[in-house]
């Protein structure tokens, strides 16, 4: 992906320069090579020099945008722009952390929010950078792809006149005449799968188009990746659902706790399946330094699919998602849901259900939650507290020593008054607004399953009847997933191709020894019957090295082939080759 992009620098100059090298017009090949980039720069300077129309300026701007320097700057900018996204909390990843940040930095946070700093990867300035980068990429790569397509049908360029000027060159003398010598060299190059062109006294061969193809594939695949991501953003959706053992949810916007639809997704587009959680199992390491660390999570679920309408069982685990109707369901979290039964002053049961508590720490899975009983008479009741899976007493403070429910207890604070549910303001089910409630004088003694709190003033009674477990599920649908994977793998393949393959040209010239042929002959003497053969090599993409070895091998094989041909032809005095041509 690298070297050939140097072509960005000189734009169309690249082909011309290469052509100059190849044809070696007028013995100035070397100078042409040197002058090529300078000319290209000269053009650029002229372009920037003013007296340009609108079209000229547009062309200039486009050339700037698609230049390698701009691409470099944009790459750096994109890297730089990503950094705040990893340092500051992000709304799309951890909304709670953003809320915390607001609380901790009340002055700074609104300012940062105005800069989209809590949504960096959706920010307009972030999009501006990557869209510019991709425009620059397309502007560079597409013309190159067209050039490659055009050149695919064309034979290699003529051999330069002065092969000695090329970076790799070698020569030898043979008794074979020039034409058969060239013929045998061309034959060898063809067998080596070079594309060969022959002319009067020369052979030109080229190989390694896969280098450029790989390079282009890589860059085009990146464009494909961008399109795939956009596809997911438009037509995909994701949702979350917390599900207590025994409960069922349906994949509808209402059935999900959190629903993030793509821009072009409507409620009717959701695949209608439902999932029931039968049982969740978690095991933990019980000894050693890893004590308390989870070792196994599994959720036994039942689901129905719209296609067969039947119920299926499934063992949902971390790293083992459920795929139903093209939608993926993941196990991403778990916790405890203690069950409570509340009777009010009238003696009627006004509340009897499991309440999901949210873990506040991982080592003992201490979980916090609230119970709201809006129907209680005469006053609404509210409870806030913690569930301790394995309760211990640490210096008078309650804590949980282990995440499994080995000694489960709940500790609650009781309130009576107005829950504030009728104010019209949406309220979280995980927090209690106690501003219009009165704390009841009840001992916060932890409750074992089956135990109760009797509220003062005959307000009622709460019983901790037991506990269930809950899982949180992520439901995602991303139609861009497979295209993204294909693009990424194509990019990788292109990268490897362009790094492994080098595009190279081999030229051979043969002339009777001592004949002028437009080349200054130092010796000047004519050697009857002998032929001088020159071999030269050129590569465009060999910054990592290695071509000189390939060239040396190829040149010596050509020599052996030609000399072997001479020996076979029984030429008098033919230089016997040490060995025949190397095998294919």
């Amino acid at each position: 992906m690298t070297q050939d992009l140097a072509g960005r620098e000189a734009g169309a100059g690249q082909d011309r320069v290469a052509q100059d090298v190849a044809t070696g017009q007028g013995g100035t090949a070397g100078q042409d090579v040197a002058a090529g980039p300078a000319q290209a720069q000269g053009q650029a300077t002229r372009l920037t020099g003013g007296r340009l129309g609108v079209v000229g300026w547009l062309r200039w701007g486009w050339r700037q945008l698609t230049s390698m320097r701009t691409a470099l700057v944009l790459l750096f900018l994109l890297a730089l722009a990503s950094i705040p996204g990893s340092v500051l909390p992000q709304q799309g990843i951890d909304p709670a952390a953003v809320t915390q940040y607001y609380a901790a930095h009340p002055a700074l946070a609104p300012f940062l929010a105005r800069l989209s700093a809590f949504d960096v990867f959706g920010a307009p300035w972030f999009a501006a950078i990557y869209l510019l980068l991709f425009t620059s990429l397309a502007g560079c790569v597409l013309p190159r792809a067209f050039r490659l397509a055009r050149s695919a049908g064309q034979p290699p360029p003529r051999a330069p006149r002065y092969l000695a000027r090329l970076p790799q060159a070698a020569g030898f003398r043979t008794d074979l005449a020039a034409d058969p010598a060239l013929e045998s060299a061309a034959g060898l190059l063809r067998r080596r799968r070079f594309r060969v062109r022959t002319g009067d006294g020369w052979v030109s061969a080229e190989k390694g188009y896969l280098h450029e193809i790989g390079n282009l594939l890589f860059h085009l695949a990146l464009l494909g990746l961008l399109v795939s991501v956009a596809l997911g953003g438009l037509f995909g959706y994701k949702g979350n659902r917390l599900l207590v053992e025994g409960d069922t949810f349906a994949n509808t916007p209402v059935g999900l706790d959190v629903f993030h639809p793509g821009r072009l997704v409507s409620a009717g587009d959701l695949q209608p399946f439902s999932v029931t959680l039968n049982k969740f199992t978690a095991t933990y390491i019980t000894s050693g330094v890893q004590r308390g660390q989870p070792s196994w999570f599994a959720a036994a679920i039942r689901y129905n699919s719209q296609y067969d309408g039947k119920l299926h069982g499934y063992d949902l685990r971390v790293n083992h998602p459920l795929i139903v109707d093209g939608v993926q369901v993941f196990l991403i979290g778990h916790g405890y849901a203690p069950e409570f039964k509340v009777t009010d002053s009238t003696g009627h049961v006004k509340f009897d259900q499991a309440v999901p508590f949210i873990p506040v720490e991982q080592s003992g899975l201490t979980s916090a939650g609230v119970i709201k009983v809006p129907d209680a008479q005469p006053r609404q009741l509210g409870f806030a507290g913690v569930f301790l899976p394995t309760q211990i007493d640490v210096g008078g403070r309650l804590a949980s020593a282990f995440p499994a429910a080995d000694y489960p207890r709940v500790s609650l604070v009781s309130y009576a008054g107005n829950l504030g549910l009728s104010s019209g303001q949406p309220q979280s089910v995980y927090s209690l607004d106690t501003s219009r409630m009165r704390r009841l004088a009840v001992s916060p003694r932890p409750l074992a399953p089956g135990q109760s709190i009797v509220l003062p003033h005959g307000l009622g009674k709460l019983t901790f009847t037991g506990y269930r477990q809950w899982v949180s599920l992520a439901i995602t649908y991303d139609p861009g997933q497979v295209p993204a994977l294909v693009s990424a793998l194509a990019a990788l393949a292109g990268l490897i191709l362009s790094f492994l393959v080098r595009r190279r040209r081999i030229f051979v010239r043969a002339a009777p020894a001592g004949e002028p042929d437009g080349v200054a002959t130092p010796g000047g003497a004519t050697n009857g019957g002998a032929t001088d053969v020159e071999v030269a090599g050129l590569t465009r993409s060999d910054a990592a090295g290695g071509f000189e070895i390939e060239f040396a091998e190829l040149a010596s094989e050509i020599m052996q082939e030609v000399r072997g041909g001479a020996a076979a032809a029984g030429q008098p005095g033919g230089v016997a080759a040490a060995a025949g041509p190397k095998g294919e």
Binding site: M1, T2, Q3, D4, A6, G7, R8, E9, A10, Q14, V17, V21, G30, Q31, G36, P37, Q41, R69, L72, L75, A79, S82, G85, S86, I93, P167, A169, A170, G171, F172, R173, Q290, Q293, P294, W296, F297, V318, N319, F330, A474, T476, D478, L492, F499, A511, T521, P522, G523, D532, E534, R540, D542, A543, A544, G545, G546, E548, I549, A552, M559
Partner: protein, 413 residues
């Protein structure tokens, strides 16, 4: 449950490996201090970059024959790239060995003599420069081109000099113990042994030394031993003393065959990146020294720099490392994305670790582009390379320590 016997064996072999590496470091340093100067010059192939690998075509011809036309095939020569692809930077970044082609004698001579002042072995290049532009001596062919020879002239891969041989053997022995330590840890735990920070550092240092040994043999770059082993020994010492975690089980989030794919690819890529970064630091130091020499100045550490190869050899070696590491990293990131999709329901979620691997990828991509951009080759590109490595290190250390995210498996809490 982990097998404690094997786990203990792993701990002991790792400490032994560190000791061997440290002794090897000492031996490399002794080679720099007391080693045979001539041996060092030949073993590190000082004179001409091309002869390191080609050793054939160019090696077969004498310096005079090459003068002026058959450029001593310097594949890393940035000007060559510029010429062929139409780049504008013909003069190159000003390294000693840069030749400007096709313009006759002067530049060739300058290139040759700039390099020649440093090591005796450069005499040939110096002569080539001095004789450049003269008429072709009668060669085997009309234009005096060297005759192609077979690949028989490939030099020995074995390091020369007692200190260097000893150091190399110690490195190999240390690596064997290191591999044994990592493998026995994996056997003790019945899983791939890279589930936490301690195991991960042991694995990436192992990978770095493996790349070092391969690089030393493949490119006859024995001079690198000291410089790669220093960070390896430091990292391993910190790993064993500060970060150590006893053998244990994986958290459910890591219980997937993808850990064997994603993390292994990361380890291979990072080991190579470490190697590339060390070579790049050397490149920067040597190229600065070369500029000092060209300006007629001296350097206090000239004794060290003279024993290192030409900066272009280092530049090319670092580049080769990235040519391998970058696709490996790309693969590792893709594998990570597939795993993330499998485990978390999205293939990319801008988790801090993901973000920083993306940043690292971008900066290394910028490095690759910079090497192909006029005015950015050489030292500037090298600085971008090191910046990319800094991002990589931050992702390994900084993100684990200071930023919480889904990748918080390091066990450093």
């Amino acid at each position: 449950m982990p097998n404690t016997g094997l786990a203990d064996f792993s701990n002991v072999t790792l400490v032994l490996a560190i000791v061997l590496y440290a002794v090897a470091m000492l031996a490399y340093a002794c080679d720099f201090a007391f080693g045979n100067r001539q041996a060092a010059a030949t073993s590190s192939a000082r004179p001409q970059p091309a002869r390191v690998e080609a050793g054939v075509l160019v090696g077969a011809a004498s310096g005079t024959e090459l003068a002026g036309h058959a450029f001593p095939a310097d594949p890393g020569d940035p000007t060559e790239l510029a010429d062929l692809s139409g780049g504008a930077d013909l003069a190159g970044p000003g390294t000693g060995g840069t030749r400007t082609r096709g313009t006759g004698t002067g530049s060739t001579g300058a290139g040759g003599s700039a390099a020649s002042g440093r090591v005796e072995g450069d005499a040939a290049a110096g002569t080539a420069g001095a004789a450049g532009g003269g008429g072709f001596p009668p060669g085997s062919a009309r234009s005096g081109l060297p005759e192609p020879a077979l690949m028989a002239a490939r030099p020995s891969l074995w390091p020369e000099g007692t200190w260097l041989r000893g150091a190399f053997l110690l490195t190999c022995a240390g690596l064997a113990l290191h591999i044994a330590s990592v493998a026995s840890r994996g056997l003790a735990e019945h899983r791939v042994p890279w589930g936490n920070m301690y195991e991960f550092i042991a694995a990436i240092t192992c990978s770095a030394v493996l790349v070092l040994v391969v690089g030393m043999v493949r490119f006859r770059a024995y001079y690198l031993g000291l410089f790669v082993l220093v960070p390896v020994v430091l990292a391993l010492a910190v790993d064993v003393v500060v970060i150590y975690m006893p053998a244990g089980q994986l958290v459910p989030a890591l219980q997937s065959y993808w850990i064997a794919i994603h993390v292994t690819a990361m380890i291979v890529a990072i080991g190579t990146y470490i190697f590339g970064a060390v070579v790049t630091v050397l490149y920067l130091l040597v190229s600065r020294y070369e500029r000092q020499v060209a300006a007629g100045e001296t350097s206090a550490a000239a004794g060290i720099w003279d024993r290192l190869p030409h900066s272009e050899v280092l530049d090319r070696l670092a580049y080769r490392a990235i040519l391998f590491a970058f696709p490996a990293w790309t693969f590792a990131v893709i594998a990570g994305a597939i795993w993330a999709d499998h485990a978390w329901g999205r293939y990319w979620g801008w988790d801090p670790k993901e973000t920083w691997s993306f940043i690292t990828w971008l900066v290394y991509a910028a490095f690759l582009h910079a090497r192909a951009t006029a005015g950015w080759r050489g030292r500037r590109a090298a600085f971008i390379h090191l910046f990319g490595f800094t991002c990589l290190l931050f992702n390994l250390v900084g993100v684990n320590l200071w930023i919480t995210g889904l990748h918080s498996y390091a066990g450093m809490g």
